[in-house]
């Protein structure tokens, strides 16, 4: 049976986003464009634009939340729920084979063992799929209760996700 399923976190792509070489029109191109050839040239280029966007408007930098923006949004959700996270706290993640990985979390409340990590940029090298699976398993068990998330396109999306995380912990009586 096919179904709709929200994805909380997926393996963050390693290819970069939004990095564009600054475009400066070559002098030769300016000359071409001033000439009669430009009309034919642009008309043929336009032919690539039917639904594929090849010659569409130039791409603009994405509106992905920066790490600082994301931290502010998540901290706000935590604070509104009575949880004060300290920034950049080192926490040990213990795996099922008693293997330990030390990570620096973006936010963590030691007394409640609740924290979060917004996985952005080089964080993806540390927060591998395997480590996140361990974090999720610990969160489902006896803690620490950590939500690793990212990337997010909007603050509302991130708020929704973090509220759901805290509501779940509350419903389970963990905090």
């Amino acid at each position: 049976m096919l179904r709709i399923k929200r994805i909380g976190l997926y393996s963050v792509p390693r290819y970069p986003r939004g990095i564009f070489a600054p475009w400066r029109e070559p002098a030769a191109l300016t000359l071409i464009k001033k000439g009669a050839a430009s009309a034919a040239l642009l008309a043929i280029l336009e032919s690539c634009d039917d639904g594929v966007g090849v010659t569409g408007p130039p791409p603009v930098p994405p509106d992905l939340l920066t790490e600082n923006e994301a931290r502010a949004v998540i901290t706000n959700v935590f604070t509104n729920n009575g949880i004060q996270p300290a920034p950049d706290v080192i926490v040990s993640i213990i795996g099922s084979q008693d293997d330990t990985t030390e990570v620096t979390l973006d936010g963590y409340n030691g007394s409640l063992s609740v924290g979060y990590e917004y996985v952005a940029g080089e964080d993806a090298d540390t927060f591998t799929t395997a480590l996140i699976a361990t974090i999720d398993a610990n969160t489902a068990g006896s803690g620490p209760y950590i939500k690793a998330t990212g990337p997010a396109y909007s603050s509302s999306q991130l708020e929704y996700l973090m509220r759901a995380f805290i509501d779940t912990l509350k419903a389970q009586g963990k905090i």
Partner: protein
């Protein structure tokens, strides 16, 4: 809600078609066509309701059944509006001939060609009314079509029955000379989990082909991969990016009634009339139009908080409507398909990036690529022609 000026309009010139494709959404095949008066009024309406310029796509049914009408529409538009109105066409290719290609060349009219892949794949779903497959009729014309425009886009539809042939079909299209293959699922078909497992294997095979091609500097566009890479490397979808029905894009039926998109026209009678947002004689029904736009822009409840939001195809209200009857209700097949496809695409792009494949970097990160690539192509073609001489 502030509505925009129209940028794109599809003119359904006829409800008739010489093919009977199994997945066609264009309603019953009827001998009902657009009159020249209605067509002229449609052009005037679009010129009045667009911001300086707009593009008209001839649609159907099969628009080339009405080639004389197309000639008249283009002539009328050129006389009154010059180059402000551009023309395009979506055709099944069976009626393309040299006369048409010359007309297209003279009038800068480009078209997309519906072709579903290899002969077995194509003929199983795209047949003439007598049941005969249409593949051979089309392929006889492909070299002329690609000579006219090497960037002609091949549009393919995947249904569960053709899922096992997707990789072979797409490769076939690239091999016979297409550089642009736009492939989409028929989301209204009865897809099952096992069909998606079959499709996943096909995408994996194609991802290897795509990697090898780009590594060798072969330029190609395959929409299931390219469009998803772009949502990461460039910009995620926002409202109206993937589908702006009833707003910047509309469809006009043969009767002159206006619809939010070609997928709503159907037979243009009975229950379909509920979807009409006006007509070219009296203008838009603005409140009805605003309702469609607002519904299409509305956040999808089922997708709230999903990490793939902005990267998947749930933003197409027309597809949602066809599959679920609601603009904002996402059919499960879209979600399942995106969750299956996205990791394949990202893994492919990760590898292309990690291996420093130059064409990948140019294609997705260099804004000048379309132009520089075109100039490159011209030089290659000129060199080939010189060598042949």
């Amino acid at each position: 809600m502030k509505l925009s000026q129209v940028k794109y309009a599809a003119l359904s010139l006829t409800h008739n078609c010489n093919l009977r494709c199994t997945y066609c959404y264009a309603g019953e095949k009827l001998d009902r066509r657009m009159s020249l008066d209605t067509a002229r009024r449609a052009v005037d309406f679009l010129a009045d309701n667009s911001n300086g310029s707009c593009a008209i796509t001839f649609f159907g049914g099969e628009p080339l059944l009405e080639f004389p009408l197309i000639r008249e529409i283009v002539r009328y538009s050129r006389e009154r509006y010059g180059r402000r109105v551009q023309f395009r066409m979506s055709t099944n290719g069976t009626l393309v001939d040299k006369e048409l290609l010359e007309f297209c060349r003279d009038n800068e009219m480009f078209f997309v060609l519906s072709i579903d892949g290899s002969q077995a794949q194509h003929d199983s779903v795209r047949r003439f009314a007598n049941g005969r497959g249409s593949y051979q009729r089309i392929t006889a014309r492909i070299s002329d079509i690609l000579e006219f425009n090497p960037y002609t886009i091949a549009v393919s539809v995947i249904v569960p029955e053709t899922a096992p042939f997707v990789a072979e079909g797409a490769r076939h299209l690239f091999d016979i000379g297409f550089r642009y293959v736009l492939q989409t699922l028929d989301y209204s078909a009865p897809w099952r989990n096992e069909d998606l497992r079959v499709l996943k294997k096909q995408y994996l095979r194609l991802s290897r082909f795509y990697f090898e091609s780009l590594s060798k500097g072969r330029k190609l566009y395959y929409s299931p991969f390219d469009e998803r890479i772009k949502t990461w490397a460039q910009k995620p979808y926002g409202n109206g990016d993937l589908c702006d029905l009833a707003n910047t894009q509309i469809a006009i039926a043969a009767s002159g009634r206006i619809y939010p998109c070609v997928q709503f026209v159907g037979s243009d009678e009975a229950s379909y009339l509920d979807n009409s947002i006006g007509d070219v004689f009296t203008g838009f029904d603005e409140s009805r139009r605003a309702w469609f736009v607002a519904e299409n822009y509305r956040d999808k409840d089922s997708c709230a908080g999903c990490a793939l939001a902005g990267r998947c195809a749930t933003y197409c209200g027309c597809v949602n409507w066809r599959a679920t009857g609601s603009l904002s209700a996402v059919p499960p097949i879209i979600c399942e398909h995106e969750r299956m496809l996205m990791p394949i695409v990202d893994k492919l792009a990760n590898k292309l990036w990690k291996r420093n494949v130059a064409l990948f970097e140019r294609k997705f990160y260099d804004k000048a690529f379309p132009l520089s690539s075109y100039i490159e192509d011209c030089m290659i073609r000129r060199r080939s022609a010189d060598a042949a001489d």
